[in-house]
């Protein structure tokens, strides 16, 4: 069966197409080259005047696993239907559940309604990976995948402290990717989550973890090298030390140098771009951070924009979440030490536009977006739900594309915060082409999804069709059509067919001898059998809905 999408305006940065009017042919779930005249076209969509992009990819969104579920469990009040007033009313799509902790069905539906066809859970605790996959397995409509957290687990820290050679580290990293069915590796507060378990309260880049006598820099070097040597496309995903602390920008700048030029991705960098200037000793360091980002070509980043309203922060960074618990609103917090593997901290949070720090956080995020030169190295995220629910993306896109809208919003902020930001001097407005880079082509390239994020022949036919309209929020909130694997699943912003996406993984080769040390460790210190730590393909696919797409390493 051949489907024709006729006459759309294509924004396909992977093929340098910036508003080119072209036809797209779909067969068997894939985009194909123009067929011969003899081929029968079963269905034609006339897209004259419409904007056509690949399905969007959220490269960092907490959609599954322990801490998200703890947030849901702790916050039943989030599930109530409320009539929201400004500014909260502003951040939602027409069908938005107004909810920072959507259930799995809501997650899939809200994503696809906005034209997103894939989302990646960035913090899978290896020991808890089975839960993450169970939840993602119950998330309809979209493709998914995740990054496994390493660098605070005692097994890795023991290897590093004993000066194990890089090959041993590489084997362990590859083994972990297999065992957890992940596509990338993340490190959260390198060494810090472990340090907190030894009662250390802060950890700087060149400070030793008291027990292991290794530094965050050692950890970053070792893990980024492993990821690179194993040929994993996705660079090491780094949540820096000192999240949320005034003055942390120096840690972030130093972190960029910790890998000696090996690629690293610094995530939710907004939370790591704070200075100490001004009366309140809290200022924007977006200028210093973007200058370094523009210079350091081996570094990519996503922003982690905050938007005003109620949300919840869910992080593996138990050390910093414990420190932030005093800001919880409503006043409750979960902090967990998890299995000599990692940690977890869930702190509900209400960002207020009249609060100096929150207002400045909002401005810092936008300053970062607008000052990074290369849209292929910066990604659109709110670190869902930590900065705001992902349903606020259309609003965020409008802030980036519409200067007067942005400046109007800025003028409503806390006045002291306004005085500390140069946002109104930044005249940049993102183009549709640049938005397509940030949310499609760039994200696919970063993660290594060769068949997603573009509209060329061979691509998975995940396609979003919008009406070009001046109100970019309205435009991106409600696409006319969304195709998932070639099937029309959303019409006029409403789901018309339920489908189940695939799970993207990568499985680099490793020396199976790595299991000698691991099985001894499991036997002695763990509380489960090593074999049960590993998630089989069957566990993801046996229900008949799940599917695994394994990406080759280079």
């Amino acid at each position: 069966m051949m489907t024709l999408l006729k006459n759309g305006k294509l924004y396909d940065p992977a093929h340098h197409k910036d508003g080119v009017v072209e036809d797209i042919y779909i067969s068997d779930g894939r985009i194909v080259s123009k067929p011969s005249e003899k081929e029968k076209i079963s269905q034609t969509y006339d897209l004259t005047g419409k904007v056509v992009m690949a399905g969007a990819i959220d490269m960092h969104s907490h959609i599954g696993g322990g801490k998200v579920n703890i947030a849901r469990m702790m916050l039943p009040e989030f599930q109530e239907t409320k009539t929201y007033s400004e500014p909260e009313a502003h951040i939602c799509t027409p069908n938005c559940s107004h909810n920072a902790t959507p259930n799995t069905t809501d997650t899939g539906f809200r994503y696809i309604e906005m034209g997103y066809t894939a989302a990646f859970e960035p913090a899978i605790l290896p020991i808890n990976a089975r839960q993450a996959h169970l939840e993602m397995g119950d998330t309809p409509m979209i493709d998914k995948g995740g990054y496994a957290m390493l660098g605070n687990d005692d097994y890795f820290l023991r290897l590093l402290a004993s000066r194990a050679d890089q090959k041993a580290i590489n084997d362990y990293v590859a083994w972990t990717l297999h065992a957890t069915q992940a596509i990338g590796i993340k490190v959260v507060n390198p060494g810090g989550i472990s340090a907190f378990k030894f009662n250390q309260r802060r950890l700087n880049l060149d400070e030793n973890n008291v027990h292991y006598q290794v530094t965050p820099r050692d950890i970053l070097k070792s893990l980024s090298t492993a990821v690179s040597q194993l040929g994993i496309a996705k660079p090491l995903h780094v949540h820096c030390n000192n999240l949320g602390v005034a003055g942390n920008f120096q840690t972030t700048l130093d972190t960029m140098g910790a890998s000696d030029g090996v690629p690293m991705h610094l995530t939710h960098i907004q939370f790591h771009s704070y200075g100490t200037e001004g009366d309140k000793k809290f200022s924007s360091a977006a200028a210093q951070i973007t200058e370094a980002l523009n210079k350091n070509k081996h570094i990519t980043a996503d922003v982690g924009q905050i938007l005003f309203g109620q949300t919840v922060t869910a992080s593996g960074d138990s050390m910093m979440q414990h420190l932030n618990a005093k800001h919880a609103s409503p006043k409750k917090t979960v902090i967990m030490d998890v299995e000599c593997d990692a940690g977890c901290g869930v702190v509900p949070f209400r960002y207020r536009d009249q609060n100096y720090v929150n207002a400045l956080q909002w401005a810092i995020g936008l300053e970062l977006f607008l000052s990074v030169d290369d849209p292929w190295r910066i990604f659109l995220t709110t670190d869902h739900p930590n900065g705001a629910p992902f349903t606020s993306y259309p609003h965020l896109i409008r802030l980036l594309m519409d200067k007067s809208f942005r400046n109007e919003a800025f003028a409503k902020l806390n006045l002291d915060a306004q005085a500390m930001s140069n946002l109104t001097s930044l005249n940049r407005e993102y183009s549709l082409y640049e938005i397509a880079i940030m949310t499609r082509a760039g994200a696919a390239k970063l993660i290594g999804l060769n068949n997603c994020g573009h509209l060329g022949a061979g691509a998975q036919a995940d396609i979003t069709v919008y009406t070009d309209q001046p109100n970019r929020e309205a435009m991106f909130a409600k696409p006319n059509y969304v195709f998932k694997n070639g099937e029309l699943v959303v019409k006029d912003g409403v789901v018309i067919k339920v489908v189940w996406g695939a799970t993207h993984v990568t499985k680099p080769a490793f020396d199976s001898g790595v299991e000698r040390g691991l099985s001894e460790y499991f036997e002695k210190y763990h509380t489960i059998q090593m074999d049960n730590f590993k998630i089989s393909d069957d566990e993801i696919t046996a229900d008949g809905r799940g599917k695994i797409i394994a990406h080759q390493t280079s």
Binding site: M73, M74, D138, K332, I335, D337, V338, T527
Partner: protein, 411 residues
């Protein structure tokens, strides 16, 4: 334990008989009977080696106590659910796949969901939803806990192997000898609880009814409050002060309880005293709360319900006009009394007091079919194996999700 060393009639299984999900259970098939070889846990033995005496098991579906085919029983169950306006699905003792199926059937039939352990689960959930908590997990306990306080429970009644697996062994950062164990509660015997592997074990006896007051005083003392009273509920304040000091001087103190054992009004406030004690301790040293229990798949049902619906599995008492009761794991659990139509999807070893309108025997995950369960600490999720059938003649029981999806297709 390496599976390579196993004999052909042996396998290593995961035991769902309590919330610890021990996954090192060595089973051997001898003359078509499963034996548990490597531990002496009565719960595990009862789970893996139930009676298969033909006079004692119910492998045949029944309608009004009369044998029926599976298809007839499914059709009758569907008919009863169709007639009902407000069914209640209770028991819910199953694994993730079973719960997913039940959840979807509940959506379709407007049914309320109530786990058999709902009352005790709510004691913990109330604390989580009102103040949050700072918790730890079993591997952390094994490797770090130097002071363990067990409040209102001997733990072993619920988890026979808790001490053997996590406390009486050397951890990465603490040896068994260095640990100190303190019990506070009623009907506990120090003689039974002591073990030479740990040097210091002590008991502070008190009535369960006094735990609210005693935990409140302990919390106050850990916070640094000075008390004028000499005794509280018959316990010397100086004894509680010495426990408070041990907690504050510990490197990694753990406060453990089993919600089911705190069976008195407003037990959630006692639990909150413990969790807030941990919060206070974590301002200066490290500590973790450890809610134990978690039997009959309750942790799994609660987690799955939470991600499927956005809400925890509550303790709801909703009027119903039909009850569907699910019990895969423990044969000795019985459905609540009801005068409404009753459908039982249950264990072959049940001895039901009331003959239900429909009885359908279902496979037990971890015995008759594979499955997935959450451990009590929610951090670890483990696969369950099919062990009966590989090593014995299979009983050919349908899984819960097979039965439920057939019922659903008839609605």
């Amino acid at each position: 334990m390496m599976s390579a060393n196993l004999r052909t009639n042996q396998c290593i299984a995961t035991c769902p008989a309590c919330g610890l999900l021990c996954d090192d259970v060595l089973l051997e098939n001898k003359q078509n009977k499963l034996n548990v070889l490597n531990n002496n846990c009565a719960k595990s033995f009862a789970f893996f080696a139930p009676s298969l005496d033909e006079n004692l098991i119910n492998t045949t579906p029944k309608i009004a106590n009369k044998p029926a085919t599976l298809q007839q029983a499914i059709m009758h169950a569907a008919k009863l659910l169709k007639q009902a306006k407000q069914p209640a699905f209770s028991g819910l003792s199953t694994d993730i796949a079973g719960f997913r199926a039940i959840y979807h059937l509940a959506q379709k039939t407007n049914a309320s969901l109530q786990h058999a352990n709902a009352q005790s689960m709510a004691r913990n959930i109330d604390v989580l939803q009102s103040a949050g908590w700072q918790t730890t997990t079993l591997t952390e306990v094994k490797n770090r806990a130097d002071v363990l306080v067990c409040i209102g429970s001997d733990i072993v009644s619920h988890h026979p192997r808790f001490f053997e697996r996590f406390i009486l062994q050397d951890g990465m950062f603490v040896s068994a000898k260095q640990r100190e164990i303190i019990f506070i509660g009623e009907n506990l015997s120090l003689e039974k609880l002591k073990n030479d592997a740990v040097e210091a074990t002590s008991l502070l006896p008190c009535r369960a009814a006094d735990l609210p007051e005693i935990t409140l005083v302990l919390r106050a003392l850990v916070t640094g409050k000075q008390l004028k009273a000499i005794t509280v509920a018959g316990v010397k304040v100086s004894d509680l002060q010495s426990i408070a000091d041990k907690l504050k001087n510990a490197k990694y103190a753990v406060l453990a309880w089993v919600a089911k054992d705190l069976d008195f009004a407003h037990a959630e406030l006692t639990i909150q005293n413990m969790t807030e004690t941990v919060v206070t301790l974590n301002q200066t040293t490290r500590a973790g709360a450890l809610p134990l229990g978690g039997s009959d798949g309750d942790t799994s049902a609660n987690n799955a319900n939470t991600w499927l619906s956005g809400l925890a599995l509550n303790d709801t008492h909703i009027e119903h006009d039909c009850m569907l009761w699910v019990n895969s794991f423990s044969a000795d659990k019985l459905p609540p009394k009801t005068d409404k139509p009753l459908i039982v999807l249950g264990n072959i070893n049940h001895r039901l007091e009331q003959a239900p309108d429909v009885f359908i025997p279902i496979a037990t995950p971890g015995l008759d079919c594979s499955g997935t369960l959450f451990r009590v600490d929610s951090a670890v999720v483990l696969p369950l194996k099919k062990v009966r059938g590989y090593h014995q003649p299979t009983l050919a029981l349908p899984t819960l999700s097979e039965v439920v999806s057939e019922i659903e297709s008839l609605l």
